[in-house]
Symmetry: C2
């Protein structure tokens, strides 16, 4: 797997999320995927993403930074979006907020096996105060 291949797979994964094309998710995500130490599996991972889109109807995944060295990718994702109610236990309630997620992915073959994600909660708090 070359760096260019992995970058291209990752962009196709983000396109899949933005299209909410859940039947294709298994093309990019391993059956045994774990997220922040939780062994969600593909089904639980899809449920997490579907819930994210339910809570944030205008959710869109865009990369601000990308560092790729197979089998790892690190991405800084930038969000400008409008959570309907609470988000990360914060009362966002329909305000539009901007924040980043710094996230690492470890691939096994051409699928994501492990995710370590941190969302910038402090930035959102600063926009609600």
């Amino acid at each position: 797997m070359t760096t260019a291949d992995l970058r291209s797979i990752y962009q196709a994964y983000l396109d899949c999320l933005n299209a909410q094309d859940w039947p294709r998710l298994g093309k990019f995500v391993d059956e045994k995927v774990s997220h922040n130490g939780r062994p969600l599996g593909l089904e639980g991972y899809q449920a997490m993403l579907e819930s994210d889109f339910q809570q944030i109807p205008d959710l869109r995944f865009n990369t601000e930074l990308l560092v790729c060295k197979p089998p790892l990718i690190a991405a800084r994702l930038k969000f400008d979006c409008t959570p309907k109610g609470s988000f990360l236990s914060l009362p966002v309630n329909g305000r539009t907020v901007s924040f980043a997620e710094n996230v690492f992915y470890k691939f096994e073959g051409d699928r994501i096996k492990t995710v370590w994600s941190v969302i910038d909660k402090t930035a959102i708090e600063g926009q609600l105060s």
Copy 2:
């Protein structure tokens, strides 16, 4: 600058932080460094780090993951430490907490010019509840 060179410079930077060897910080950090969009400069960056060590006397920087592609490095840093008082506005007050920081660095030559850092505040909240 090769990947191996940059990894080695980054490890020396972390060693410098862990030694609190502030006179050497300018070897690794640009005079015009910015951190999460704030143009701190070297002096402000050092002040931020010194303040971190004052608030968290047992602070130690350890990498859990590293992805390097010059001029970018992405690191997941793992902390087990004991903030004396508040940390990220949370009343930690001398408890030992474990959390990660997912952080990107852009180098200019052999010095850090731009930092995009996100600390896992949600993980700390979970340990205080």
